[in-house]
């Protein structure tokens, strides 16, 4: 009953703006310091709070959890990559691998039309009641777009699917320019589609923020950094966009913003496969492994990015050597070893979850056996080509599970929101009640 008083029933439209990798603390700070005056106004009239992301805290898993309202044990996306069990070769799960319906598919069954722009893990585009252009990882604009008219429009304006992050390694000026140009085209497309198309749900994500943070997070914290002003100015532009978009939103229309994870300074990258190798859980046939094809049959466990640990089970992998009788003892031993991992006298691992602690559903059998969360500042990696336990690269910012962002343009009691709750909230705002999802409505 309270819900009905908050929003006029006749509207039943929702606008959602994703801000990939934008921490709540950063937005709150910028709003308070006057760098984002539009956000400051939104903060006053609505609710801006910290939100918890998925486990692991990578965009593919987090956005998939948002768009389905279920845990990875049901939607099946545990990370950006998987190993094909029969041959240890890479497989890259895409939108066709998502095992649960998205909120726009559910809305479509209720005759609601959706515009979806740049949500990660929606490539290749699938037909829907509405229009969609996929987000990261998207290779081809035509395959990323539905319907063809979406492709034609985006192609005509020179829409860019993503920033070329590899530029950051050598040509930081080009990288920054790429961020701006990609953002500009994104905004152009968002504004045009918002104004010119019919819709009931409008969902768009800005992902340039994540690219900026991965390489130039240090520029935020160091005011003497040559790109410090660029960083701040980007957020000034982002704020202008948020303000302009919000002006279009009808006063009674729910407006939500969210991010899929937070960001923090990387103290050190920690290569968990090196740790496993040192502890003799992981062995390779060669001293310089290039891929998991080099895994030795005596290996007990391995890590996939960022922090997913798989036991090398006999009944799952051709060279697997762990039998089910050893499973419990092995994973408990592994957990204890991981919790004891320290770098420069500091503990690295904040928590170790067994699969049944955090996942449930039809895709449970594909879940990693353990997932690890680090203390802030330690960026966990699954690389197999490193020789040292820790290292630093040009990446200065790393994901956090906590400190993601949730915003809604109403005052609500925002207690411990999780990204899994946002999709359900959107459906509730559309008067669509779905009782079998894992998330709980936030309003």
């Amino acid at each position: 009953m309270v819900f009905k008083k908050l929003f006029k029933k006749r509207e039943n439209k929702v606008v959602v703006l994703g801000l990939d990798g934008v921490p709540y603390s950063l937005l709150s700070k910028f709003a308070d310091e006057g760098i984002m005056p539009n956000l400051s106004k939104l903060k006053e009239q609505g609710t801006l709070c910290s939100m918890t992301a998925s486990i692991p805290e990578v965009s593919s898993t987090s956005w998939s959890t948002f768009m389905t309202g279920v845990n990875p044990g049901r939607h099946g996306i545990y990370g950006f990559m998987e190993l094909q069990r029969e041959n240890y070769l890479w497989r890259f799960p895409n939108f066709l691998d998502l095992k649960s319906k998205t909120i726009w598919e559910v809305a479509g069954e209720h005759d609601k039309k959706s515009i979806v722009i740049n949500i990660p893990s929606t490539y290749p585009a699938k037909p829907l009641n509405g229009m969609l252009v996929a987000g990261f990882v998207a290779l081809d604009l035509k395959k990323a777009s539905y319907p063809d008219s979406m492709y034609q429009y985006l192609n005509n304006i020179g829409y860019r699917l993503d920033v070329d992050a590899s530029k950051a390694v050598k040509f930081v000026d080009e990288f920054c320019d790429d961020i701006l140009q990609t953002f500009k085209k994104r905004v152009e497309a968002i504004n045009y589609l918002y104004d010119s198309e019919e819709w009931d749900i409008f969902i768009a994500a800005i992902t340039e923020t994540d690219r900026l943070h991965h390489y130039l997070w240090i520029a935020l914290e160091d005011s003497s950094h040559p790109k410090h002003d660029f960083f701040i100015n980007f957020y000034v532009e982002l704020d202008k966009f948020i303000g302009a978009l919000y002006k279009k939103v009808d006063s009674d229309m729910p407006f939500i913003m969210l991010s899929d994870h937070g960001f923090t300074t990387i103290k050190k990258e920690v290569y968990l496969n090196v740790f496993l190798h040192e502890k003799e859980y992981l062995k390779f046939k060669t001293s310089n492994p290039e891929s998991f094809s080099d895994i030795d049959g005596s290996s007990l466990a391995f890590v996939l990015d960022p922090s997913r640990i798989y036991l090398h089970m006999k009944d799952k992998y051709p060279y697997g050597c762990v039998d089910s009788n050893s499973y419990e003892k092995l994973r408990n031993t592994l957990k204890a070893d991981l919790l004891s991992l320290s770098v420069d006298g500091e503990r690295v691992i904040k928590g170790v979850y067994f699969k049944e602690d955090i996942y449930s559903g039809e895709c449970f059998s594909d879940a990693p056996d353990l997932v690890v969360l680090p203390y802030e500042g330690y960026d966990l990696k699954g690389s197999i080509t490193k020789n040292e336990l820790t290292g630093k690269t040009l990446l200065t910012g790393g994901h956090t599970r906590e400190n993601a962002t949730f915003y809604i343009n109403r005052k609500i009691n925002c207690k411990n929101p999780n990204i899994i709750d946002v999709g359900v909230t959107i459906l509730r705002l559309l008067d669509i009640d779905i009782y079998n999802l894992d998330g709980k409505p936030l309003i």
């Binding site: 029969e86 990261f136 290039e290 060279y319 690269t393």
Partner: protein, 229 residues
């Protein structure tokens, strides 16, 4: 040799059917289904086994081909179960010749590959590099690389190498006899491809697989740029 599965592999139009013919003449049992009968384009038969294409879903047929030889396009080698042993004869041929031959074949059937030839050559070259690297990592797979042109020009030397690779069980002279230079010179004049034609749909399917492999590389590159992998 009896528990090892011999495989003739390579890209379509690289000489795989010629190699199958040589091995059959040399005394090896070739595993084929004869679903496609010999015809004008291919008087000696196609040397194919349709079941091979389903290997990812069902590899049980491999139990019945131990000690024999089967033809398998290179992309499918990744799906070979790791608990068996294989000897692979991998046919190599100049890429431009392969592409030209494939295009001629597609055109003869009223079709044409939409991908630029140069692009296709690049994709194929990348595929060959990857598969060679992968094969090197597989302890259960021995590989003998042979060059199509060299077989035509030096059939005896190559037949001996093949025989040695397959544990000296073959009749080398009979293998050499199947390599008829004059026949191939005549065919060369007509279509620049003395090899036995492959189905046009197989070529298209393979083009799609190679493009998917290329897409995988692009995805890997994008993930690496954000610190993954």
């Amino acid at each position: 040799m009896s528990d090892v599965i011999a495989i003739v592999s390579g890209l379509p139009r690289s000489g795989t059917s010629m190699m199958m013919k040589m091995l059959e003449a040399g005394g090896m049992e070739v595993v084929v289904d004869n679903l496609r009968e010999a015809d004008e384009d291919n008087p000696m038969g196609y040397y194919e086994l349709e079941t091979v294409k389903q290997i990812k879903g069902d590899a049980s047929w491999l139990n019945s081909v131990q000690g024999k030889v089967v033809k398998m396009v290179s992309m499918l080698l990744y799906d070979l179960p790791l608990h068996k042993n294989y000897k692979v004869i991998f046919m190599l041929r100049k890429m431009e010749e392969i592409i030209a031959s494939q295009q001629k074949m597609l055109e003869r059937k009223g079709d044409r590959n939409v991908t630029d030839d140069e692009e296709m050559i690049k994709l194929y070259n990348t595929h060959i590099q990857k598969i060679e690297k992968w094969l090197q990592q597989q302890e259960n797979i021995e590989v003998l690389y042979l060059n199509y042109k060299d077989i035509i020009e030096n059939p005896h030397k190559n037949a001996q190498m093949i025989n040695k690779f397959l544990n000296n069980t073959l009749n080398v002279e009979k293998m050499v006899q199947t390599v008829d230079k004059s026949l191939y010179r005549q065919r060369s004049a007509n279509d620049n491809n003395p090899d036995i034609p492959t189905r046009e749909q197989d070529i298209k399917d393979i083009h799609e697989i190679v493009k998917k492999e290329h897409d995988q590389e692009k995805i890997e590159a994008q993930l690496r740029s954000l610190g993954y992998m």
